[in-house]
């Protein structure tokens, strides 16, 4: 409409919507009468509106009329939860039709400083997790009755966060508790016992897709629970519940769907347990609203998962990402808003980061720690938002130094094991490195039996990314050689070897009594490999790392063993790779399309592994040249997931790094066009893999040396748009090629001139 340069075209839109004043309408009609272009545009706008409006006629897939309002019979939350606690079987079938399962025993540990702190249990309950906490309270009440009846109440004044078993002098180590395969098994229902339990022991959640509906509290005005408002500082009361039996994770829903249909990994009881434990341990989150008041006030409503009532919705603003690194006793632990993850991260709520060397003595930890034996500490993180957010939050925390030094997770180690606290490893000039790990080749059941003794119904990895789950992070102070770290964690190694010796059928690997033996057990089998088994990745000794082989030989073995211990029958489903009709793993390009198009197998992990396979460990994966490199293609918006997976895969590598060396990770993206071009250039499988050059003008450094440096932390949000609009635009950039370079510390930074 060049002839009407002053004409506001948006009036045309308002015109077809009948949203004009008379004067405006007259103006529009005048223009329309004189401008064919205006008429054409008007027709287009009408057509667009008509097409969009046509979506209205899409019928409901089903009615949503059935919900908790139909099923709870107007019980108060307390009544409902209490009834559930007492009569699980009766309620189990109320709305969950096809995923009912036997309930593990209830185990309760109650540790309060004194009776005057009983209220702290309520203080520690977050408003945003209110209903879940209602269940917790109800569970506590039910358990209390049981305890009084049986006279097995354990109530201690210990305030240090030590395991109650230690505190009360039973001297029954946690490993003794948890190395028993029985604890890894789902048990029969209603074996209510009261005893100490693993701090990583969370209740499985309700197995049904409508679990949340059963848990949802009918809104009775004025019947709000007597919990304290969110934000009051939680004290050190500890309530630890083993599988409560009324959960079991749901997760039969569509992969990745965070809604109630899909269930969640952490059940009401489990989630609340973790919350309270985190208080005990000093820096875990108390859940939303469970930490100090100022922090709580910043917390967003919880993610759209299924647990109980949440804080009021913001009227106009969608929830923003906030990291809640909760350390009530140390305000400096709080991350300021500037350091909070970007909205892309979602509402990252690090509900719990529990540093616990003591936990390393757990059987499941020992299994995991076969691969991470150099670390001083394993932390558990529970995030509603899954792996991506967990990764993002931890990376963020690491980069900001928020978790350095102050965490001192090993204080409890000293208390429980009388070993020198490994915090001595971390001096003020050291930086923590965080390794995220979630078993890559496990079926979810195995994974979470191993991690938290939770059972995941769905074998879909992608789904796990969107639900509450546990991740372990390894903390290695910078400046300490990995071997030193191992040496300074003798208890850890000893427990590990003991656990394997006791529980394994494989004599060779499970009778390992030292870290060296464990070394051997995780080193790729020489005979099978038929080549250099060395995994030295130093620049001076560039040896090829067969990552695929490593994954197969280690992670798979690990999961097989885990499955045996955890009584999970199917452990062969290593990954959800989408295979073509011939059963072949798709080529990277196809796989990328799968991811872009949304496939069950489209996880970053799948991509990486598939890339490894499809390229026969040549084009992708670690290269024979130094420095080792991983590269793959991933949707740009998934960079955090890439981070998580890469860290996970990268974890074993530092095991072979010699003293005084440390792995540096470089992660960069290359625009897809470039990636495609290179892929084309290297399409010939017989050709020598191209060594990627790090040209800053062509690559976008997502993060640099994230595991050991902080000076580049500002690079972190680069790929993380700050606004939804930006995110949309970012997503338009489609796939990017991610390159991760692993090199020794002494190697020259390739990104610098």
């Amino acid at each position: 409409m060049n002839e009407f340069p002053q004409f506001d075209e948006s009036l045309l839109t308002a015109y077809i919507d009948n949203e004009l004043t008379d004067a405006e309408r007259a103006l529009v009609e005048d223009v329309l009468s004189r401008s064919a272009e205006a008429r054409s545009l008007l027709d287009d706008l009408r057509q667009v509106r008509s097409l969009v409006s046509g979506l209205q006629s899409i019928p409901l897939p089903r009615s949503f009329a059935k919900g908790p309002w139909n099923q709870t019979n107007a019980q108060s939350p307390l009544e409902f939860a209490f009834a559930a606690q007492i009569q699980p079987a009766a309620l189990e079938t109320s709305s969950v039709s096809d995923e009912s399962h036997s309930s593990p025993p209830i185990q309760v540990t109650l540790a309060a400083r004194d009776s005057s702190h009983r209220s702290d249990l309520q203080v520690g309950l977050s408003e945003t997790n209110g209903y879940r906490n209602w269940r917790l309270i109800a569970s506590l009440a039910a358990s209390f009755i049981v305890v009084v009846t049986t006279g097995v109440l354990t109530l201690t004044t210990d305030f240090t966060g030590r395991n109650i078993a230690t505190t009360k002098g039973t001297n029954k180590s946690q490993s003794e508790h948890t190395t028993s395969p029985e604890l890894l098994k789902p048990s029969g229902p209603s074996e209510s016992t009261v005893e100490s339990n693993s701090p990583y022991f969370d209740a499985p959640t309700d197995p049904g897709s409508f679990r949340s509906m059963r848990e949802a509290a009918p809104p009775t005005r004025g019947a709000a629970p007597a919990m304290s408002p969110a934000g009051e500082p939680a004290q050190s009361n500890t309530l630890s519940m083993a599988p409560g039996g009324y959960g079991g994770s749901g997760g039969r829903g569509r992969p990745g769907a965070p809604s109630i249909k899909s269930g969640a990994m952490s059940g009401a009881i489990g989630g609340a347990t973790a919350t309270l434990e985190s208080q005990q341990r000093g820096f875990g989150g108390g859940g939303l609203g469970a930490e100090n008041g100022t922090k709580s006030s910043q917390l967003p409503p919880p993610s759209p998962t299924i647990e109980g009532p949440r804080g009021p919705l913001s009227d106009n603003e969608p929830s923003r990402g906030v990291v809640a690194m909760n350390k009530p006793t140390d305000p400096s632990m709080k991350l300021n808003s500037a350091n909070a993850p970007s909205p892309q991260t979602g509402k990252t709520t690090v509900k719990e980061i529990v540093g616990s060397q003591a936990a390393n003595s757990h059987a499941e930890n020992a299994l995991i720690d076969r691969f991470f034996r150099h670390a001083e500490s394993v932390w558990k993180l529970e995030s509603n938002d899954g792996l991506q957010s967990a990764s993002g939050a931890l990376v963020q925390a690491a980069s900001t130094g928020a978790m350095e030094e102050k965490d001192k997770p090993d204080e409890r180690t000293q208390e429980t094991t009388n070993e020198p606290p490994s915090t001595s490893l971390a001096s003020t000039d050291q930086t923590a490195r965080y390794f995220l790990w979630q078993p890559s080749g496990a079926s979810p059941q195995v994974m979470f039996d191993a991690l938290g003794q939770q059972q995941i119904a769905s074998p879909d990895f992608d789904q796990q990314l969107n639900h509450t789950s546990h991740y372990r992070f390894r903390y290695i102070p910078k400046g300490n050689s990995l071997s030193d770290a191992t040496e300074l964690a003798p208890t850890y190694a000893a427990d590990q070897s003991t656990d394997f010796a006791e529980n394994s059928d494989d004599t060779r690997s499970r009778k390992a009594k030292s870290s060296d033996d464990l070394d051997a057990s995780i080193t790729p089998d020489e005979n099978a490999r038929g080549e250099d088994k060395s995994m030295d990745v130093t620049a001076s000794s560039p040896k090829r790392i067969d990552l695929h082989h490593f994954l197969n030989s280690n992670f798979k073995a690990f999961h097989e063993q885990t499955s045996q211990d955890a009584l999970t029958p199917d452990t062969t489903s290593v990954r959800n790779l989408k295979k073509d009709e011939a059963g072949a793993v798709p080529e990277p390009e196809k796989l990328s399309n799968q991811v872009a198009g949304g496939g069950a197998g489209g996880t970053t992990e799948d991509m990486i592994v598939a890339s490894q396979k499809s390229n026969d460990n040549m084009k992708l994966g670690f290269q024979s040249a130094s420095p080792p490199m991983i590269e793959f293609v991933i949707p740009r918006s998934n960079w955090q997931e890439a981070s998580a997976v890469l860290i996970r895969i990268g974890i074993p590598v530092p095991n072979t790094i010699t003293a005084n060396q440390s792995a540096l990770y470089y992660m960069a993206t290359i625009p897809l066009d470039d990636a495609k071009r290179e892929a084309t250039q290297t399409n010939d499988s017989s050709s020598t893999p191209q060594q990627l050059s790090f040209d800053k003008s062509q690559t976008n450094i997502l993060f640099l040396e994230i595991l050991s440096a902080t000076d580049n932390r500002d690079n972190l949000p680069i790929a993380s748009p700050n606004t939804p609009a930006q995110a949309e635009k970012e997503s338009e950039s489609d796939l990017v090629r991610v390159v991760v370079l692993l090199q020794s510390k002494s190697t020259v930074d390739p990104t610098k001139p």
Partner: protein, 221 residues
């Protein structure tokens, strides 16, 4: 819908909500039945995926049920409900890392199923393929603009209601909506969805009268 009818509905809704909060929780079903289609369609427009829309819709009602005692009638119930749904949808998208598959229609078969119904009269009949294309195009436009167009063209809210819901000036609503339609047209063209030429003065929808009022008898704007 006349003002009187709207006021009556408001009053009835207040009474209903009061009853639910008072303990007659089963009556929440009435609210669900009234608004589920609108919420679902809105979420479909926002998320571009039927399964996701279904999930978020369900979550919306569960969430609303939990929070119903906090609803203070400062806005219409639907406005409040839509806010919940919108926040959930945003969270949902972020959680999923804005994957491309969020806009993916699982299959042509599903798309056919989606449109395999009898549309109301006066309404354009979209084939499954067209539905998928429109949804895909919707997902390609800016989120804020998509929200506005969903509120207008799928929810049938007028500009004032949209402005109130989003807390933006009416002029901004108009400009966003216009921009959204322009972008959507371009996206549709890219998707091969050629707008059909329409006879002068005749459109598939009646100007100013949103088909929502014909479809959702219980709807309230």
């Amino acid at each position: 819908m006349t003002t009187a009818n709207s006021e009556n509905m408001m009053e009835e809704e207040k009474a209903l909500i009061a009853a639910i909060v008072g303990g007659e929780s089963q009556r929440f079903e009435q609210l669900v039945l009234t608004y589920q289609q609108r919420i679902f369609v809105a979420m479909l427009g926002l998320l571009g995926n039927r399964q996701d829309a279904e999930d978020v819709t369900q979550e919306t009602f569960v969430s609303a049920f939990r929070k119903l005692d906090r609803f203070e009638f400062r806005s219409s119930f639907y406005t409040w409900l839509h806010r919940i749904a919108w926040n959930l949808a945003i969270d949902f998208q972020r959680q999923r890392g804005r994957r491309k598959n969020a806009m993916h229609i699982e299959s042509d078969r599903e798309a056919d199923e989606i449109s395999g119904h009898q549309p109301p009269p006066d309404h354009s009949v979209l084939t499954g393929e067209t539905v998928a294309q429109v949804q895909k195009a919707l997902m390609e436009i800016d989120e804020e603009r998509r929200h506005v167009i969903v509120l207008r063209d799928l929810q049938g809210l007028d500009y004032a209601e949209i402005a109130s819901l989003l807390d933006i000036p009416i002029g901004t609503v108009r400009s966003r909506l216009h921009r959204a339609r322009i972008e959507l047209r371009e996206a549709m063209l890219r998707a091969g969805l050629e707008p059909e030429p329409q006879p002068e003065g005749k459109s598939k929808t009646i100007d100013g009268a949103h088909p929502r009022d014909q479809i959702h008898a219980g709807g309230q704007s």
